[in-house]
């Protein structure tokens, strides 16, 4: 377990400019939800930032927001999760080498390397400590959190910077639309469930968390545990997995007050959440969040921001309600996310 002592989030909502928890909701009718980026001048030297691509800037800025909030000068580890890294840089190189192969500009190549964000944050903070990057679809952020939780157990680190960060481009959206990943036409994010159709609404985001062995004054909540499971030939068996996962923390399904689910508007895959909730948590309050940030490989970063704020402020904003139920108290939140019914993940977050 680890305390969440600071959060920095750049998302399609106004999370970068305001600490208030979802006070104002931004509605989009678009192909994908795009991040509202902060002015970078207060985070990155303008001379350096000129050469940086968008994802790197979002990464550095959100990392700095999180350490500032936690009052942390030097993390003992920097761990980043990203499904796709800098898509913009990768596309630049692909565009060049598939047309005419000639001497490349090395900058996009360097920035396309997945661990660039983690190492740029290390350079900015002059941090020589442990550094790693996970690049496994919707396990990317979760794997980094597990790594961080282990560091605390192993007592090799007391303060960890853990992130989930991904970007979308129109080009990438069009390519991945071919395989049914996204809605074919712009839809309103606030009316996502009204017209059931295949494909999710895409999004992006950069979320950094300061995980601490000790609680600070800025603490939000307690991240008790994270679990991932790859579903191959029915290997994901929540009936045995879930009770085991909860029992490690002396909890049962009855102790869960609120389910935070990864519903993304894809009629082919949303039923997995509904079945899970109905089967294991009948009558429980269900919350969702992807209508606010869109679907992307590290969207659970936005989810953890939501869970942390619900528990810290002891509020359950209506915009997050998926069903009509109200939680009896706001103590234990179970987040459950899956990607195409293959990558399943649980996160357990508890109020301080």
């Amino acid at each position: 377990m680890a305390f969440i002592n600071g959060i920095g989030l750049i998302s399609p909502q106004k999370t970068a400019e305001s600490k208030e928890f979802l006070a104002e909701i931004v509605e989009y009718t678009a192909d994908y939800l795009k991040c509202i980026e902060p002015g970078y001048r207060s985070y990155i030297d303008p001379i350096q930032s000129r050469r940086m691509s968008r994802l790197i800037k979002m990464g550095i800025a959100s990392a700095k927001m999180s350490v500032a909030e936690a009052g942390l000068a030097m993390p003992d580890a920097i761990i980043t999760g990203t499904g796709l890294g800098s898509v913009e840089d990768t596309e630049k190189i692909l565009g060049e080498i598939t047309k005419e192969e000639r001497f490349l500009n090395p900058t996009p190549f360097i920035q396309s390397t997945y661990n660039t964000i983690s190492s740029q944050v290390a350079i900015q903070l002059k941090c020589h400590n442990y550094n790693s990057t996970y690049v496994h679809r919707t396990f990317s952020f979760e794997s980094g959190l597990i790594d961080g939780l282990m560091q605390i157990e192993e007592q090799t680190a007391s303060n960890i910077l853990a992130a989930g960060i991904d970007e979308m481009t129109m080009n990438h959206l069009q390519i991945t639309r071919r395989i049914g990943q996204w809605k074919m036409h712009p839809v309103s994010n606030l009316k996502l469930l009204e017209n059931s159709s295949p494909g999710a609404l895409a999004g992006e985001g950069a979320a950094f968390f300061v995980l601490g062995a000790e609680k600070t004054g800025s603490a939000y909540a307690n991240l008790l545990d994270v679990k991932t499971c790859l579903n191959i030939n029915g290997s994901f068996k929540p009936a045995s997995l879930l009770p085991c996962f909860l029992a490690k923390h002396n909890l049962t399904v009855y102790d869960i007050d609120l389910l935070l689910l990864g519903y993304n508007g894809d009629c082919n895959f949303d039923p997995v959440y509904l079945d899970f909730a109905n089967h294991f948590f009948p009558g429980k309050a269900q919350a969702w969040f992807k209508h606010l940030c869109g679907e992307y490989h590290t969207a659970t970063g936005f989810g953890l921001y939501v869970a942390s704020n619900i528990l810290k402020h002891q509020v359950y904003p209506e915009i997050l309600h998926f069903n009509q139920m109200n939680p009896p108290r706001l103590k234990n939140i179970l987040m459950y996310n899956h990607f195409r019914n293959v990558n399943h993940a649980f996160m357990l977050v508890q109020a301080l």
Binding site: I78, G83, L84, G85, I93, L94, I97, T98, E101, R102, F103, L104, N105, P106, F109, I110, Q111, S112, T113, Y114, N115, T116, S118, S119, Q120, A122, I123, L125, C127, H128, N129, Y130, N131, S132, T133, Y134, V135, H136, R137, F139, S143, I146, D147, M150, E153, E154, N171, Q174, I175, T176, R178, I179, T228, C229, L230, N231, I232, N233, F236, V342
Partner: protein, 399 residues
């Protein structure tokens, strides 16, 4: 007492061999595998020397035992071939009740097909089976699905230290009790994408690379895959596997210096090696051999050399880079060289640093030049350093 981590299986493919036996034979014959590019259509074809595996996509399908079908990258096929060899030796198909994980590493992922079909991705549906295969997780999930591993599956990408980090994570998952055994390593195929990228950085040698030589001129990129089976002591009791050696120490540190260059004094390399050494409980004098990262670039070899001098002081162990044999297999280098290091303990040999002629004037030591046999090797340090100053060091010890 923390749980001990044992190595009980391994599998490898690179330009010096399609499996463990062939790899060992090439090494014992001091036979490098580098040559010209044959399987990638690039303007750099006749210009660069690389460690390409002399097999076509069709041949790799046959070696992997898979009927050719759209959607497999070269990277995934290499991964499957090496992972399966390790899986079988470690008998992971038995004792299915043990908690088993797969941690793989790659950075170019399925880029080898993506760059061939990118224009189709943009304009038509003919290559849709490859769209999903372009990311880093694809090869990992194909291996997991083929071998039936699901308790914990993830992919690491820290450029050229990736596979060393997957071994390190595997060990930590066992030590913290999350898993009993882990298949850990990495795979990377050559691509036009990173051949051009490295070429743009002007760090590729057109001739056989010369690590730790005064006149070194850069890297020979290579490709391959290598996986190790890591087990806890309790797992060994159940599987009955024999430990080849113990993973006694590991350390990771960050240079926090530059995105692609190493710091002049090798601060990241020094910290990573120091952490690994401290954890192993060994004295610096007990390390018999360092399998260096030794890429052959101006920058890396001097910086790594200085870090080695700083850590070992007056008693520098035998050092060599095996990259002239295999080429620099980037994200697979960490596990490839871990296996080459384990060979040293098993067969009491030290691999030569091929192509070395003249000591770097700023360093006090030279690498091992000729194959040494019949030497006592109890502990080996294996270094892997990557872009972003991501440095990892592993220590393998005789049991």
């Amino acid at each position: 007492m923390p749980r001990r981590i044992f190595i009980t299986g391994y599998g490898i493919i690179s330009c010096i061999g399609n499996n463990i036996d062939e790899t060992l034979t090439s090494l014992l014959q001091s036979k490098p595998g580098t040559g010209r590019i044959r399987h990638i259509d690039t303007i750099l074809k006749d210009e660069l020397l690389v460690g390409e595996i002399p097999k076509s996509q069709e041949e790799l399908f046959a070696m992997a035992g898979i009927t050719p079908v759209e959607g497999y990258s070269r990277n995934a096929l290499l991964g499957i071939i090496a992972a399966r060899e390790a899986f079988l030796q470690g008998q992971l198909d038995e004792n299915r009740n043990l908690k088993t994980g797969l941690i793989s590493a790659t950075t170019v992922g399925g880029m080898d097909r993506c760059e061939l079909y990118y224009n189709d991705f943009l304009t038509n549906d003919s290559r849709n089976a490859h769209i999903d295969a372009y990311d880093c997780a694809d090869s990992t999930e194909r291996i997991a699905s083929l071998l039936g591993i699901h308790d914990f599956v993830t992919t690491i990408s820290t450029a050229c230290s990736s596979a060393a980090n997957s071994i390190m994570l595997g060990a930590r998952m066992i030590r913290t009790g999350r898993l009993d055994r882990v298949l850990a390593g990495g795979c990377e195929s050559l691509t036009k994408f990173h051949l051009n990228g490295f070429n743009a950085l002007k760090i590729l040698d057109k001739d056989p690379c010369k690590p730790f030589d005064q006149h070194r001129a850069g890297i020979n990129l290579g490709e391959g895959a290598a996986y190790l089976v890591l087990e806890s002591e309790e797992s060994l009791e159940k599987t009955g596997n024999t430990a080849m050696c113990e993973l006694a120490g590991w350390g990771n540190a960050c240079e926090a210096f530059h995105q692609t260059a190493s710091s002049p004094d090798g601060v990241g390399a020094f910290l990573a090696m120091k952490k690994a050494l401290e954890m192993s409980g060994l004295q610096a004098t007990e390390i018999d051999y360092v399998n260096a990262h030794g890429t052959g670039t101006d920058n890396n070899d001097l910086s790594e050399g200085r870090a080695i001098e700083k850590l070992f002081g007056e008693s520098i162990p035998m050092v060599s880079s095996t990259k002239p044999f295999t080429g620099h297999t980037t994200s697979a280098a960490g596990s490839t060289e871990a296996i080459l290091s384990i060979f040293c303990i098993q067969h009491q040999v030290i691999w030569p640093n091929l192509n070395f002629r003249e000591r770097i004037s700023d360093l006090s030591f030279s690498p091992v030049e000729k194959l040494l046999t019949g030497v006592q090797v109890n502990a080996v340090m294996s270094n892997s350093f990557g872009f972003g100053g991501n440095d990892t060091s592993l220590i393998f010890k005789k049991v």
